[in-house]
Symmetry: C2
Subunit: 505 residues, 2 copies
């Protein structure tokens, strides 16, 4: 009789013994009439107190699974009810549930296997829009966590309020005020990052069948929210100055979208930023048509060049901007803390949706980030991060010039975490990815970012998570594959031309 | 010119200056033609470097808001676009957005102001189903957090995988196996607690208009999920042995619910537990009708008396049980970590929903709880907690006997965190709550837990978060209010009877 006990488990030992005997009866390892070892014997075998075994047997007896006869021993006397009828006949067992037939939402989820493959060791990843992790101020963060637990004591382990950890709400409101966006702490709802912010906003503002405006291309996580469920989306192209406002104006004059989702600064994946004039026009259009704007400002602090342009929220005069941001791009994607800033009425409804979703964001995570931030460590870290990111951006731009075929073009993002590259027209980015994985490099093909009409030759290359040397090497490999591909296409072209020529003469 | 700078902020100083000047222009504190202080002057006033002010002014100039004339100074030359037309005329500004008109879900949210009031200082709360927080092993927890950050380094701050922190998935699978439920780590999805688990399950299994079976009464958070949105619910009564299976059988023979949500052990709020026979019958019914069961097993470890009864998941033969539990009732409600255990196909769809909701649960929270648990500290804590809870339960039961009027009845829960009391029939629990708040005591009136047909005289009194002395005092006060109420009702009755008698003679 094979029973394995875990001494450090939170399941009491007698419960473990009873549970495992039950399992053996259920699996047929033990059968009706089988004799169990005597209490003392089993206690010795397992190295446990005799009363532990007595308690375990008492439990099994209470379940009606075993019987004890004085002087004869303890026997299995019953099987789990469902097996009674046909203990040895597998065919009569109820068939396993077919889950795929029971799903409410059977449309293919964009993210069910749709993410770029996670690189193993030896891979260089240009795929993720994440901050450099090799410069995380880990020990400072650890000390901040330790300090805040000592200070707050029980509070961090107790149930918290849905709105968030108050000191963090106050800190964020104060930070936003410094950039001209006037919001009070009660207008801040702490979330588990921008993904949750977006998801809550959709729940509250866009019902089944409602339309929303998204930038095309945009953050894939937003597409998973706005293009999933029953929402319908209108993709508005992104030009060199951000969201195409002429197209948007046309859309707003004909349709009644429930919201406009935009990333005005260092847009993902294009890297472009809306200037002041564009921001003002966007606000006017939205105000005229009474359509709320969801401003995803997650890259704001990652600015390497160019002026700081006020957020839509700072310029907003009629309270129609719902501002979302997080700590994930400036240091802590794994800690999962972000926020929504909006008018109080809306915040109260978003809070109800948040409570329904998961009650509140981890107090441990919130307090850790607050403590780290309030001591000025986040400001210091952002400075260091921007220095590192800038070096890496420049390394990537230089490598692109050096190694990529002339037929490719790209922008020079003034902030953010990646470069958006238009590959030579004849090249398919997904095909390139398959080949580059074999050469140890991963990146994000453009179609991940498009709600419709994806170009086949777009790629986003993130520079933030690799060293300049690794970036140079990875871009060199990508360039090599591209050049080989173009050469082979050219040869095919010449061969075809020669064939046509021969057919003519 | 009032500019406030925060030196420890992550917003650069020049950005703070530019942002606040922008705000002043926008609010009309600064007007076109107003002169700004010279660089040097403002730098001295604010105690910052002169280049900081130069940079701030350069930003404002780039925005077209200010102009510099050599020898004359720097002037405000423009207003934010929207204000240009009518700078001083408030009436021409766009009207503020009326959010209430824009909400997708305008049905009253059960939780929008529907929770029992949070007690201030001096209050005794019998309202919340939470573990005793005064025995949290805080320093051990703090050390576990410190240790796991040292061990995992960057990993906890980097982006994680949606399924969860792998060591925690493995730990949970191993723990479940010890009680006879065979699930692999890949069948565990880590969530932010049971509330999120329930919410994700609904998203994946119950579409708009679909029906689900809930226990009546049940956990209010489940009602907020299953009775909100477009789900429709069928409330099945809870009897002395849990869910009324005769009623359920009738429901399943006539309707096609998408799932059955149940708390089989120490049900919230009734405290009752389904015995083995009932569990087997429930599983057979569900298997016959092919309806998944959501087993909320959050109170399992909080057992003070009676046998340990296997979970539905441990008895499940056709994979129809979706098991949800968390660490919130055994120690860490504020840390927000729970899990779902189910068949792999379903887990992959639930993971996609989780990714869409918030990418993944905080790695810091997951790793902290893992480290605390794997060292056996959670097992030790549960032991201590159960001892404390049992004392408090007994204090409450004794106080109820001593202070409550004879017309009230209650059960003796063998586990869980509260006692379910049927008040004298003539008493309304919400009325009692209003009076008891004035006497410094809060509790949960029964109607919070009912999806339909709430009795007016039911109350859940949680014993876990107050000391025995506080419980005795709080129950005494409640009893006093009840007795006074009964006396006044009796007097009214006598007066009415006397009146009737007088009318007759």
């Amino acid at each position: 009789m094979l029973i394995e006990l875990k001494r450090d488990s939170h399941v009491p030992l007698y419960d473990q013994i009873a549970g495992q005997v039950r399992g053996m009866i259920s699996r047929g390892t033990l059968r009706i009439g089988d004799r169990l070892p005597a209490n003392r014997e089993l206690a010795r075998m397992l190295g446990v107190n005799r009363t532990t075994v007595t308690t375990a047997y008492a439990e099994l007896m209470a379940d009606g699974l075993i019987n004890s006869h004085v002087g004869r021993g303890t026997f299995i006397c019953a099987l789990p009810a469902a097996e009674k009828s046909a203990p040895a006949n597998e065919q009569l067992r109820p068939a396993p549930i077919q889950w795929s037939a029971l799903l409410a939402d059977d449309r293919r989820d964009r993210w069910l296997g749709g993410m770029p493959p996670s690189p193993g060791k030896g891979f260089t990843s240009l795929a993720y829009s994440l901050p450099a992790s090799d410069v995380f101020p880990l020990d400072e963060f650890r000390r901040a966590v330790d300090r805040v637990i000592r200070k707050e004591r029980q509070v961090l382990l107790e149930s918290g309020s849905t709105g968030g950890y108050e000191p963090l709400q106050e800190y964020i409101a104060a930070q936003m005020a410094l950039t001209g966006a006037r919001v009070g702490p009660e207008q801040i709802l702490i979330t588990n990052g921008c993904q949750q912010s977006i998801s809550l906003i959709r729940q509250v503002l866009a019902g089944p069948g409602d339309e929303v405006v998204v930038e095309n291309p945009t953050y894939p996580g937003a597409l998973s929210v706005f293009c999933g469920y029953d929402s319908r989306h209108i993709g508005v192209p992104v030009g060199p100055h951000g969201l195409d406002l002429d197209v948007l104006e046309g859309v707003l004059s004909q349709r009644r979208p429930k919201l406009i989702y935009t990333i005005p600064s260092f847009q993902n994946p294009t890297g472009v930023t809306m200037d002041m004039a564009a921001r003002r026009r966007l606000l006017q259009l939205a105000a005229r048509h009474r359509v709320p704007i969801v401003e995803d400002d997650i890259y704001r602090e990652l600015r390497y060049e160019g002026p700081s342009i006020p957020s839509l929220k700072a310029l907003d005069e009629c309270g129609l901007v719902i501002y979302v941001s997080s700590f994930s791009k400036i240091g802590f994607p794994g800690v999962r803390v972000g926020w929504i800033a909006a008018e109080k009425t809306l915040i109260s409804h978003l809070s109800a949706a948040k409570r329904r979703s998961d009650l509140h964001t981890s107090l441990l995570a919130q307090a850790a980030i607050y403590e780290f931030s309030r001591r000025g460590l986040i400001a210091k870290h952002i400075k260091r991060l921007n220095k590192v990111h800038l070096e890496r951006r420049d390394a990537m731009l230089a490598a692109l010039v050096k190694h990529f075929p002339e037929e490719s073009t790209w922008n020079t993002p003034q902030g953010g975490l990646g470069v958006c590259v238009a590959l030579p027209k004849a090249v398919d980015a997904n095909q390139l990815l398959l080949e580059s994985i074999e050469r140890g490099v991963v990146f994000s093909p453009g179609d991940h970012f498009y709600s419709n009409l994806p170009p086949s030759n777009m790629a986003r290359l993130s520079f933030s998570t690799s060293t300049p040397a690794a970036i140079e090497e990875a871009v060199k490999r990508l360039g090599g594959i591209l050049k080989a591909r173009l050469l082979s296409l050219k040869k095919q072209g010449i061969a075809r031309a020669a064939q046509s020529y021969r057919a003519l003469v």
